[in-house]
């Protein structure tokens, strides 16, 4: 790593003059300036994947859209995070997610503490225009402390990343592809039979929906703690 001081870039986000270091993303700088850009797959401290596409923003001068979570700031860049076009895309993407799983908030343990739900509320989604696909998915409650409900999984892979990158167990991964993609523990066996799972619960706490939850939580009782991740990450950096 070079020891040269990072260069600072100045840019505009939503017509506000802001600045960021050259290795920072649009999302980093926006958050520092309390500009809210929605995202479901991104968690600071985990490698970015750019898969949920909710953080897409416009950059003046380009017809393309850019994922704010992986696009680095550039000098003179003019970023638009809110527009009618973006709002309509974000809504449709959320509607697609709702149509693809079996998300019934009213009976969900994460009701009221769900990132998918609150994003939908923020974007004013009150109905889903796409037909529900009603995949027949299972609930795995074999783990002593946790449950995975594939019906509520949006495949953001936060669990996969935190387990591999932070806990180091790599119990989770994704199997299959396309609409048949699922999260799996070890060799697609019951979570409770996993020999690699340390039961640390990081995956559960980072899951944005009610897909990974603590056992025994009743409806709307599952609220998650996310503060541990920045803590672990900063403690590790401090130790270096």
């Amino acid at each position: 790593m070079s020891t040269a001081p990072a260069r600072v870039k100045t840019l505009k986000i939503d017509d506000r003059d802001v600045s960021g270091r050259e290795e920072e993303t649009i999302l980093d700088v926006a958050r520092q300036n309390r500009i809210n850009i929605p995202t479901l797959c991104h968690v600071p401290g985990l490698s970015p994947v750019g898969s949920c596409r909710l953080c897409l923003v416009e950059i003046k001068g380009s017809p393309k859209l850019f994922p704010a979570c992986v696009t680095l700031v550039r000098e003179g860049m003019e970023v638009v995070t809110k527009s009618e076009r973006l709002a309509s895309y974000r809504k449709m993407i959320l509607e697609l997610l709702f149509s693809d799983g079996n998300h019934i908030c009213a009976v969900c343990v994460s009701n009221g503490n769900c990132e998918l739900q609150s994003l939908a509320q923020n974007l004013g989604i009150d109905s889903i225009r796409f037909p529900y696909r009603f995949p027949k998915l299972t609930v795995d409650a074999s783990h002593q402390r946790f449950v995975v409900d594939h019906n509520r999984c949006i495949l953001c892979a936060r669990c996969v990343r935190v387990c591999g990158e932070v806990e180091g167990a790599h119990t989770w991964d994704l199997m299959g592809r396309g609409t048949s993609m699922r999260i799996i523990s070890d060799m697609n066996e019951a979570w409770g039979d996993s020999e690699t799972c340390t039961s640390c619960g990081k995956c559960v706490q980072l899951c944005p929906t009610g897909a990974l939850v603590e056992k025994g939580k009743s409806v709307a009782e599952m609220s998650k703690k996310k503060g541990f991740l920045p803590y672990i990450v900063s403690m590790r950096e401090g130790r270096r």
């Binding site: 949920c52 596409r53 449709m92 495949l155 396309g178 609409t179 993609m181």
Partner: protein, 549 residues
């Protein structure tokens, strides 16, 4: 191998071959093999032995001659006679006629526009040389470009030649090859890698397969030149596991090239080192996407990553990586040998050189062809392809596979180049060209491609994973006659979403077959939706039984 050694080897080979009075070539590429060309070859060999003419007749297994549908194909080098649909029983007659008149019964069309209108650069050796023998490749001028580049040119000079040639990536998007090379060359970091994308995933495309089966050394030579140009020492050919023959010949070619020091260390007597390994794909179309391909070469799930960073800067294992496809690399040796200006003299202003197409579907000659850029679709389909069989009318030509579109009859006179195809809502793609006549339902075709995209979607990003599934469901609903106009509106909205928000090229282009059929064949959609009929009679629409009052 030094230039002197090379010359000696060629001379020896030429003398060996010239001992034969007759050279009979039997196609042993996959197309003809599937119609038992290997048995034909064996029968010819037996026949020659039987007649005791082993010393004057050579039977040579060669690569694809193009007319795959008419296989097995046999050609006689000296007379240029081409035989088609040859059976082992024909062997005696063919051998007997070597001195006299050709066997009229199985004689193929050697003077037809099919041959005369083509310009062969990539395919120049295909059907002429034995893909299993490096000597045959050397005799036809093989590895001379590499020798020349390594001994006479600097990396910057060869990049300049490629730049001048105007060659654009033959895998799909048509990115200028010279620019790509110079980016990798300039990128900081080492080692650098060269990858040949031979994961020809487009259904209806088999150009890369034919080249690998017929002339594998040409690809290796192109890769080695590229490696020299960008400063790489390791290369990979990422090839579909579904092409066992191509893999076998490729691996054989690598072994031979190593033996003669066209690969390995101290190549051509210089200090340049470059190795090539084969990596097998495993049935994932998305791995045609550069970042997904890299993930696959690294042994992981073929999930694409957002770009930037581009592979040219951070590719395989985070190192600068050059990725070109088979056809692009196959163009390199001729460009290096004859110069960029020569190549640029072929084709149109913005699309230089030639393009190989796999012409298939409802067309008389379903073949592999190579034509100069700018030839019109009409010339391709009607002159080279021989038109539509059974007196049917052409309806559309699909180019670019699942990422492309359907071009209707009224645009047949447009020149085929990157820009024109884009303007029509399609893409050049890797070169699949499927001809459709009135028996094809365009909604059904759109559904076919959407099914493809849906099941080939890696599933990583939401718009592609779920959007393609929803679009497929909607198209299915339309073909069942159950859709309303609001479904069409939803379909168009989804096209817009998936195209603009998907992570990689697969998703971004997945709506193209729908958009282009909607653009040119909207009336067919309306027939399904409003009148509940399928004009082509493909879709099984159940008419609800009338309820008698």
């Amino acid at each position: 191998m030094t230039p002197e050694e090379l010359t000696n080897t060629i001379t020896t080979e030429r003398e060996t071959q010239e001992k034969f009075k007759h050279h009979v070539c039997v196609c042993v590429a996959a197309g003809c093999l599937s119609s038992q060309s290997d048995k034909v070859k064996a029968a010819l060999e037996d026949e020659i032995k039987r007649q005791g003419r082993e010393h004057e007749c050579q039977i040579k297994g060669v690569g694809c001659m193009g007319l795959c549908a008419a296989g097995p194909l046999v050609s006689v080098e000296e007379t240029g006679t081409l035989y088609q649909e040859v059976k082992p029983e024909d062997a005696a007659e063919v051998v007997a006629s070597l001195e006299g008149q050709p066997v009229a019964r199985i004689k193929g069309p050697s003077e037809a526009p099919f041959f005369t209108r083509q310009v062969k650069i990539v395919l120049e050796n295909c059907g002429k040389i034995d893909p299993n023998r490096i000597e045959d490749y050397l005799l036809s001028g093989g590895y001379q470009s590499l020798t020349k580049v390594l001994t006479e040119m600097t990396p910057a000079q060869i990049i300049e030649e490629v730049y001048k040639s105007g060659l654009r990536g033959r895998g799909g998007a048509g990115y200028p090859t010279g620019l790509k090379w110079s980016t990798v060359a300039k990128a900081p970091g080492s080692p650098k890698y060269v990858i040949c994308n031979a994961d020809e995933g487009d259904p209806g495309a088999f150009m890369d397969r034919s080249v690998l089966e017929s002339d594998p050394h040409r690809v290796l030579e192109g890769m080695a030149i590229a490696a020299y140009a960008v400063g790489a020492s390791q290369g990979y050919v990422y090839v579909r596991a579904e092409y066992p023959l191509a893999i076998e010949r490729l691996q054989n070619a690598i072994k031979q090239a190593r033996r003669l020091r066209f690969l390995g260390i101290d190549i051509c007597g210089t200090t340049f080192n470059f190795n090539i390994d084969v990596r097998l794909g495993a049935g994932a179309f998305v791995c045609g996407e550069e970042t997904a391909l890299i993930a696959s070469v690294e042994g992981r799930r073929g999930n694409p990553k957002p770009r930037p960073p581009y592979p040219a800067e951070a590719g395989l294992w985070g190192c600068p990586t050059l990725i070109n496809n088979v056809e692009t690399f196959a163009n390199i040796a001729p460009i290096a040998g004859r110069g960029g200006n020569w190549y640029a003299s072929i084709g149109t202003e913005k699309s230089k050189g030639t393009k190989v197409f796999a012409l298939a579907g409802r067309v008389a000659n379903t073949d592999l062809i190579e034509v100069p850029m700018g030839m019109t679709l009409r010339e391709i389909v009607f002159d080279i392809g021989g038109g539509i069989p059974d007196g049917k009318r052409l309806k559309a030509v699909q180019t670019g596979g699942p990422s492309g579109g359907c071009i209707p009859e009224q645009f047949l006179d447009m020149p085929v180049d990157y820009e024109s195809l884009n303007k029509l809502g399609s893409i050049m793609g890797s070169g699949g060209m499927i001809v459709m006549d009135e028996t094809s339902c365009m909604v059904d075709v759109a559904k076919y491609f959407m099914e493809f995209c849906m099941s080939e979607s890696c599933g990583k990003c939401v718009p592609c994973r779920v959007g393609t599934a929803q679009m497929y469901d909607l198209l299915h609903k339309i073909t069942e006659g159950k859709a309303g106009l609001e479904d069409l509106e939803m379909l168009e909205d989804l096209c817009d979403l998936v195209r603009n928000t998907s992570l990689c090229g697969l998703g971004q282009s997945a709506p193209n077959p729908v958009l282009s059929t909607l653009r040119y064949f909207r009336d067919e959609y309306m027939e399904h939706i409003v009148n509940k009929t399928c004009p082509a009679g493909i879709c099984k629409i159940k008419v609800p039984t009338e309820v008698t009052a």
